[in-house]
């Protein structure tokens, strides 16, 4: 009972907002009478396609890591030091059963849904998929136990991850263009995961709905939606630069180099979308189309970031610009004038960047 209070109840209490949002997406956006058919179609969709199933498994893995991190962090908290002298004394099957039960209580939402998915897969005779889901979830519930056991046996020691990170820090110097990616991975992982998850889903849906014949306009339209989903990350980039990288303008770097660094950052940011998209359309798409997608994505994000160097661009104005750009590109796409779009984006982005970079002043700037 004490363990339930420490781990299970606190976990659900802390994540109420997260589960409410999840609940809304699963049951709130569909009319009451269609909930069953909606979920049946959804499960049929991901059990019927190995790509989609891989994405779903990835999301489950992320959730599992979230559960794991919660338990490990709770074990590290000062007020839970007594756990080392209690759970730490358990031996053999009692110890494993306790950990297994604890982890299971946190992982239950996925287990319930994946259990239903297995039943649907069996009904639809997707036997390999059913086995994959089953084995995946068995693995998800077993591998964290080793980490819990290790943590309790070695209190106060630095984790493998921390040691590995320290070793990397000693040998690898983070280049300028990687700093914002690090920030997203370290402090904004939720925003990144949501935008990437939604973006990858859009790509899968676009490719699945396109049918047999490849049409680059169809793909580009889907890709524009993906870019729309990255807009908040680009907006937050300015805030991050203002707050933590006020030193950057002081560095003696040519403007074209700074511009190129920004391009590299966004190229890396869009890498998951590029990889999935190229993987899905590779056989049908011409190499020039693949290049177009890469250049277009980076150009749009670079233009959005450059616009943020104008004074007084708040969220409202920024999203108006964003919509204007996306709608403009949509029309150019439908008219197959994509390269003109890329040219306009790049020229405008570079011109704005050149003229505004040194004249930009962070809105946070205060007088001494």
């Amino acid at each position: 009972m004490a363990l339930s209070k420490i781990f299970t109840l606190r976990y659900y209490a802390q994540n109420t907002g997260f589960f409410l949002l999840l609940f809304y997406f699963f049951f709130g956006i569909v009319p009451g009478g269609q909930i069953l058919s909606y979920h049946y179609t959804l499960i049929k969709g991901f059990t019927g396609s190995l790509d989609f199933l891989a994405l779903v498994c990835f999301i489950w893995l992320l959730y599992n890591l979230k559960c794991m991190m919660f338990i490990l962090n709770a074990l590290s908290a000062k007020e839970h030091l007594f756990l080392y002298g209690t759970i730490g004394l358990l031996e053999g099957s009692r110890k494993w059963k306790t950990w297994y039960w604890l982890h299971l209580t946190l992982y239950t939402p996925v287990l319930v849904y994946s259990g239903l998915a297995v039943l649907v897969a069996l009904k639809l005779q997707f036997y390999p998929q059913a086995v994959i889901i089953l084995l995946f979830n068995v693995l998800m519930t077993i591998f964290p136990l080793w980490f819990y056991d290790r943590k309790v046996k070695h209190p106060g020691t630095t984790s493998f991850l921390a040691r590995w990170q320290h070793r990397v820090n000693k040998t690898f110097r983070k280049p300028l263009w990687l700093i914002y990616i690090y920030e997203l991975l370290n402090n904004n992982i939720k925003t990144l995961a949501i935008s990437k998850g939604a973006s990858l889903l859009v790509i899968i849906l676009t490719c699945s709905l396109m049918g047999g014949e490849y049409d680059e306009r169809y793909i580009l339209t889907g890709f524009l939606v993906c870019l729309l989903l990255q807009s908040l990350i680009v907006y937050n980039h300015r805030h991050f630069d203002d707050l933590y990288l006020s030193l950057l303008p002081q560095l003696p770097l040519a403007l074209w180099k700074r511009y190129l660094q920004m391009g590299l950052t966004y190229l890396l940011l869009l890498a998951p979308e590029y990889i999935l998209l190229i993987y899905r359309i590779m056989p049908a798409a011409a190499p020039l189309h693949l290049l177009l997608i890469v250049v277009l994505g980076v150009s749009v994000l670079m233009l959005l970031r450059s616009l943020l160097y104008f004074p007084g661009i708040d969220q409202d104005k920024y999203f108006r610009w964003l919509l204007l750009i996306i709608v403009g590109l949509l029309f150019l796409t439908l008219a197959r004038l994509y390269w003109y779009g890329v040219l306009v984006m790049q020229l405008s982005a570079y011109a704005v960047f050149l003229s505004r970079y040194y004249r930009y002043e962070a809105p946070l700037e205060k007088v001494d």
Binding site: H166, R173, Y182, L247, Q250, L251, P252, D368
Partner: protein
């Protein structure tokens, strides 16, 4: 009289309608300057303007030739700046920042390894800055201001959060860089300044020599 190292010509900085800085002409010859003034006088704004960190009207030149407006990259190579309250992304390590500065500003007058040892930061330089205390962070930011081969180093409130053992080390570095390499310093402080240094003061919206 020696030729000025830093020349501010018709420099004006305003926030909305309020003019914070309005300097018609200010010439700093080689030396160690202490910029004095009460809180809110505009010392940090003056330093940021001189560092090229915030936009302003007018022109600042180094050695009467390198203009902050015409040659912003070269200007930034010659003027270094350390913030009063440095803030960096927590996941970056001290060595990440040092590497970035050396990469952009170039090799310094002195070997970085020996400087790190001198300031006593080599033991934690590979750790993320999120694990640093404010004093450790301050030492790192001061060290970064000594990278490259600057003509001018601007130190904004270098003495705050610095422990008593480190203050003489900083004074030694300032003295060494000024005497041996001819670097001009402009330092803001609330504390009593060293004897023999030149004092500047923010008076109203301008800076005057005392």
């Amino acid at each position: 009289m020696a030729a000025p190292v830093l020349t501010l010509h018709h420099v004006q900085k305003a926030y909305q309608e309020r003019v914070i800085l309005d300097i018609t002409q200010l010439e700093l010859e080689p030396g160690v300057y202490w910029l004095l003034g009460p809180n809110g006088a505009g010392k940090t704004t003056s330093m940021k303007v001189m560092a090229g960190l915030i936009p302003f009207q007018g022109e600042i030149k180094v050695d009467n030739s390198v203009s902050s407006r015409q040659s912003p990259v070269q200007y930034r190579r010659l003027v270094n700046y350390a913030e009063a309250e440095p803030l960096y992304p927590g996941f970056l390590t001290g060595s990440d920042l040092i590497s970035l500065y050396i990469k952009t500003k170039g090799e310094g007058y002195r070997d970085m390894g020996s400087m790190m040892k001198f300031m006593g930061i080599e033991s934690y330089v590979h750790q993320p800055v999120s694990s640093y205390s404010s004093g450790m962070l301050k030492k790192l930011s001061l060290l970064l201001a000594f990278t490259g081969k600057p003509r001018v180093i601007l130190l904004d409130e270098p003495l705050i959060t610095l422990d008593t053992q480190s203050v003489p080390l900083l004074y030694t570095l300032v003295e060494e860089f000024h005497q041996q390499y001819g670097v001009t310093f402009c330092i803001t402080s609330h504390q009593a300044v060293t004897a023999g240094s030149i004092q500047l003061e923010v008076q109203g919206t301008t800076i005057v020599k005392r």
